[in-house]
Symmetry: D4
Amino acid sequence: MDIRGYLAGEIHSNWRSEIIEGCSSVHLPISFMSPVLDHGASDGIGTDILGEETDAFWKDHKSSKVTAIRTRTLIERADVVVAKFGEDYRQWNTALDVGYAVAKEKPIVVLHPSSLGHPLKEVDAAAMAVAETPEQVVKILQYIVIKQDGIDS
Amino acid sequence: MDIRGYLAGEIHSNWRSEIIEGCSSVHLPISFMSPVLDHGASDGIGTDILGEETDAFWKDHKSSKVTAIRTRTLIERADVVVAKFGEDYRQWNTALDVGYAVAKEKPIVVLHPSSLGHPLKEVDAAAMAVAETPEQVVKILQYIVIKQDGIDS
Amino acid sequence: MDIRGYLAGEIHSNWRSEIIEGCSSVHLPISFMSPVLDHGASDGIGTDILGEETDAFWKDHKSSKVTAIRTRTLIERADVVVAKFGEDYRQWNTALDVGYAVAKEKPIVVLHPSSLGHPLKEVDAAAMAVAETPEQVVKILQYIVIKQDGIDS
Amino acid sequence: MDIRGYLAGEIHSNWRSEIIEGCSSVHLPISFMSPVLDHGASDGIGTDILGEETDAFWKDHKSSKVTAIRTRTLIERADVVVAKFGEDYRQWNTALDVGYAVAKEKPIVVLHPSSLGHPLKEVDAAAMAVAETPEQVVKILQYIVIKQDGIDS
Amino acid sequence: MDIRGYLAGEIHSNWRSEIIEGCSSVHLPISFMSPVLDHGASDGIGTDILGEETDAFWKDHKSSKVTAIRTRTLIERADVVVAKFGEDYRQWNTALDVGYAVAKEKPIVVLHPSSLGHPLKEVDAAAMAVAETPEQVVKILQYIVIKQDGIDS
Amino acid sequence: MDIRGYLAGEIHSNWRSEIIEGCSSVHLPISFMSPVLDHGASDGIGTDILGEETDAFWKDHKSSKVTAIRTRTLIERADVVVAKFGEDYRQWNTALDVGYAVAKEKPIVVLHPSSLGHPLKEVDAAAMAVAETPEQVVKILQYIVIKQDGIDS
Amino acid sequence: MDIRGYLAGEIHSNWRSEIIEGCSSVHLPISFMSPVLDHGASDGIGTDILGEETDAFWKDHKSSKVTAIRTRTLIERADVVVAKFGEDYRQWNTALDVGYAVAKEKPIVVLHPSSLGHPLKEVDAAAMAVAETPEQVVKILQYIVIKQDGIDS
Amino acid sequence: MDIRGYLAGEIHSNWRSEIIEGCSSVHLPISFMSPVLDHGASDGIGTDILGEETDAFWKDHKSSKVTAIRTRTLIERADVVVAKFGEDYRQWNTALDVGYAVAKEKPIVVLHPSSLGHPLKEVDAAAMAVAETPEQVVKILQYIVIKQDGIDS
């Protein structure tokens, strides 16, 4: 079974590459998708393409809409969504993505330090697994795609 | 047309009563639903009913699951979801609710101070209106239910 | 059987009241819903409530979004959508509403002068009936709700 | 990520080939679908295949139904719908397609001269991006499929 | 529990009134819906309202489309669909309604003489019950709405 | 908020009346639905109505199909499903109902003695709450319908 | 664009091979699916595999259920459903398949002699095209998959 | 036609390999999926990856949630679900999977000794076929994918 994982959330740490390399090192048949990780490019994409705005609200609005085309298309295609939360940002967009994915019946794996357990309790309750390290996520993904003798997937 | 509004988000200010009273004062045919607003009751509801937990994670988990029965049932019933964000908390649960409601094709009205425009840009982009005051929300709801001569709704 | 009809389209003629009065005069159990028919109010609703815009595009955008809350809520509730097209305006919003309603599996009755048959051919092909007069629409609605002896609806 | 774009709307200008060539020149993994662009063939397809009609309405009806098989099948398959509006025609079919696609939760990119902003305001409000040139559409599509180091899509 | 039953099929015998009276005599909280049972009215409804056609195909087409507004609206509202087949007509429309209702996850009760078991085998296999008499249908409906002590429905 | 609860499972103990009376004693706006609780009537309903079968399999089949009309109709109407498991029977039908309800996005409350935790672990994992006593279920339902000052539900 | 067509209906004439060969001769990228065409095999498949029945009803029931696994799986996969009706059989199963496919939003092409127009009027009204010959069906399919210069599909 | 079968249920007998080898020996284009069959691995997967629990309930909960990611993903991908029940275990999870799959409109083939007919009657009634041996399941699958002369599937 080939599956597709969408990696939502935190962009200033290397959790994505740890998961991707971890899966690659044990040859899991998983492909990964993510939002655009270049923060500046993402923030300005709307006005860069469609013309400047004097009002910051509409600049953000244009960019977020273009970004949403990508985000929703990828979530729709995902078999599983991994969402990483950290201490440093409000990451309302990540929680938004999780809520969207839950309603689309995508299984969610949440990744965050245990210190965030209380403020993330509703997000965790909507998830199928709550991990603290990328290694744990790799093991969960590995379990999902275990190949057994004589069975295709 | 009678409509139902779900009021998600911030519980330490009186924005809900301002909207409800504002709608009531102009006799709008709108009923309002909300999460349980007593923070302590909500946080402990799982263990209060179903037995104590030694691990804080499972205490939160139990409460969040019971809370989710209420939240999702109410969002399903809502015609419109109003979500209030403020400066003081991370409110990942509110963004989760918005994402869930968007995927369920519920129209969203977001209410927050303009200072939060940038971190909430993806939430705002998923909404049909972004308001800064409860009065604006009342006027939007009023527009939705305008009764016109000779037409039922 | 009580049914709900949504009356989309042209706002500068009195076709809505002809249908409503026609149904009323034969005591049909039908309630009618419509967009806000005061063109000025509708055009400016976004900025009237949520603050002015210097750019006409964003003024229109704000208003159209608020309007869409009403429109989609009403189409969701409708059992049948009647859409009136005329010679005078481009009425892309009406065709948009029809497309939306078709995808939501709402039966459509289109009302337009026969002279518009060719440019409206795809809209007509998506409809269950194509009428030229409000009287015909009344008769179609009457047929849908015919009460027969000994049967509830 | 390979995506599929459906190019709806205006058939008398070369906007489609500009988008397709623009995407091709930067090697985007996007395939494009469109309605049949030969206007005469499309208009007469129903009667050409299924037999003549004396009444123009039924001639149009037959053709529009056959066309709709193609249109809806392609919209269902599309990841993104680009809809081009121009000054010259009423293009109710294009707005119909947009409404249909919106209800099917397809992201929409609208392409039109700024002069059409007001009459298209509801269509624009239903879209994720509003572009004025094919080049802008190419850049939006490019953003959606950006390939990042170490990530599959 | 109040339920709604849609009575599809054969119109030249009195099976509908037998079911309705049977349910009424034991005070079941069931309301019944049906197609228009006046065959002539139904056959000509399209052209009666929307204008004559020279071609019998289009006459039938217009009527069937108007009829379908009623049929689909009622099937959508039904909790259970009862479909009666007899020896005398081809009743392709009844089988069409059953197929439509099955895909909409409506439970089907089929009513036909046992002699029709073989040609109706696929219809029967799509049903939850196959009855031979209206009395049996009444008893099935009675079972569905049995009121038990201390339970609401 | 009025809600509807479906009470699935065990029929040889009085857990249903304990929940219903518990809710009634604190005036909760909840109505309850259940399968037919008379075991003999339920087992023979198919052949009692539709004629005897010599083969036990088809006798069971007929009864289970008629029963399923009731069960699925009630689950569709439920806002919350409570499922009771006990030591004494295999209750595959109850687990079937839970699986069906989960896929229909109904929140599940499971009720069983803690001794059954391991064999019911997948059922529990699909639930929003796992209770051991009817009193706990009453309290959960009470939380879901808490009426707060100035808010409708 | 590669599409999949499901060929439902009449099995005693060679209309399927005419369509398949017609499409093949002009190299259309269409694959075809059909029910099992060996009438005897289909009729007895249930009891052949799962054991004899003394009652003809259950023999038919078993076979029809096994057949339905195939039929529904193929209809789900189809992009377009072609349904052939003839004078000789009641073909309630074919009308059942059409109703099912319509509710699943599959476009339908009906194929029948014009003499059957009246009894099939509701089926025809649910279709996107009504053909009299396999050649016409080939041309419709050809139109759906027309490949245009510079466009992928 | 390539199809995918999900093999749910009993893990202590070799029914899966009998079906897989049976299909393989007649070259059926079917791939098979299954839950993880190593009982110990499955039971402890949650705590093995995500950390120990002192409470058996939460140990089971963690494992069942991780398992459910796999189970639901595979059921979603399946064209047909085969569910095996035996005398020895309560197998509530298997009945849960069947209920879930039924609501997702997956055709079910149930496999069990005839002695279990009565307790499994609701499960059997939800299925398209009830088999007693793996050989029968192979024959059913073979029928579903029969390749006929001149037809693709």
